[in-house]
Symmetry: C2
Subunit: 190 residues, 2 copies
DNA sequence: GTCTATAGACGGATAGAC
DNA sequence: GTCTATCCGTCTATAGAC
């Protein structure tokens, strides 16, 4: 009755992570269960356990893939005409920020996940800072604010705006956006 | 065997909200169930349903209480010597920001909660902006960035730092803090 | 590699006793 | 107002067939 299709293991792993990511973005981390992932994917929930023994393993694998992709995207930032603007655009991505909130909430109460998130995010921030350093175009406030501080503020604002917009909070956004645009276009020499 | 203590309804309501808030901060919103809240409080889970028929009702009631308290705290901000600095300190509160992340994640996938959060947060941001307007001490970048934009950025950065620190992400924080401190102490005249 | 079946736990919500 | 008891659903994780 049910077909037992033999698939390439790596393909199945990737499909499971894809489905997990989509579920987290669309419905939140609480929607991620082995049964649900399997159902969405047309496979059995037990098969998900075969690849990722516990649900935490699944979350951790997804977080690592997400971070790896962010680091890959950083290469484009470093080589962009205006790296600061490129980083801003990258961080303002919707889906990425939605995933970020879910992982942050998850980290609030799952120790194993908290540790992985802290480690990989700290590393990613340093990589982002290096990407800015490489650039010859110095940041607007470079002398008052070290590059890593700029990266931190830029990330905080860009992601918060995306997070808020996603749930319908928009007050103040237009003002911030035009301010940032002006800053990026016309960096002042301190 | 079990005692049936008759309590003041308002007291019970407050206790339920207190417990819910603590659970969300300490273990995340997923830990909030009628059974669990009742257990922590020493009452039956069904009693929680008596006061808050659905779990969403409970979350919404807590969010409204949280926002009301934030608005009350704003009065101190408006009358502080330096309202901008006072708002920064207020927004950087740990527990508050932990609650904020949980509600944001919750809003990602529960429509009824999303609407309440969006409405009350937008209102709160305007109230915060009024609190700054009232002050004679103008903000550092007042002319380039309208007060509501300043409030938005300040809130985004303060809360993000608290959120990150809570899970062990600290890279760039020291740099941002000293930058903000310098800005607050020594606003430049644009 | 993927399935069925199952153990064992927890959840929302309600009816009705007290 | 608070309880007990219950219905019905979901979840994780594992054992074992194919």
């Amino acid at each position: 009755m049910t077909k037992r299709i033999r698939r390439d293991p790596d393909t199945t792993r990737a499909l499971i992570l894809d489905t997990t990511e989509r579920l987290m973005v669309e419905e939140g981390y609480a929607a991620v269960t082995s049964r649900r992932v399997g159902q969405e994917l047309g496979i059995n929930g037990a098969t998900v356990h075969y690849y990722y023994p516990t649900t935490d393993d699944l979350f951790i694998a997804l977080h690592q893939r997400m971070t790896a992709r962010q680091l890959a995207a950083l290469e484009d930032v470093a080589s962009a005409p205006d790296p600061v603007a490129a980083l801003w655009t990258l961080q303002a991505g919707w889906a990425q920020s939605a995933l970020g909130v879910e992982f942050l909430a998850l980290a609030n109460h799952r120790k194993s996940i908290r540790e992985v998130i802290a480690a990989t995010t700290n590393q990613a921030r340093e990589a982002q800072t290096r990407a800015l350093n490489v650039a010859s175009t110095a940041a607007a406030l470079a002398e008052e604010l070290p590059p890593i501080g700029l990266v931190t503020i830029l990330t905080a604002v860009a992601r918060t705006l995306a997070n808020e917009e996603r749930v319908g909070i928009t007050r103040g956004h237009a003002e911030v956006l035009s301010f940032v645009e002006r800053l990026l276009k016309n960096p002042r020499e301190t």
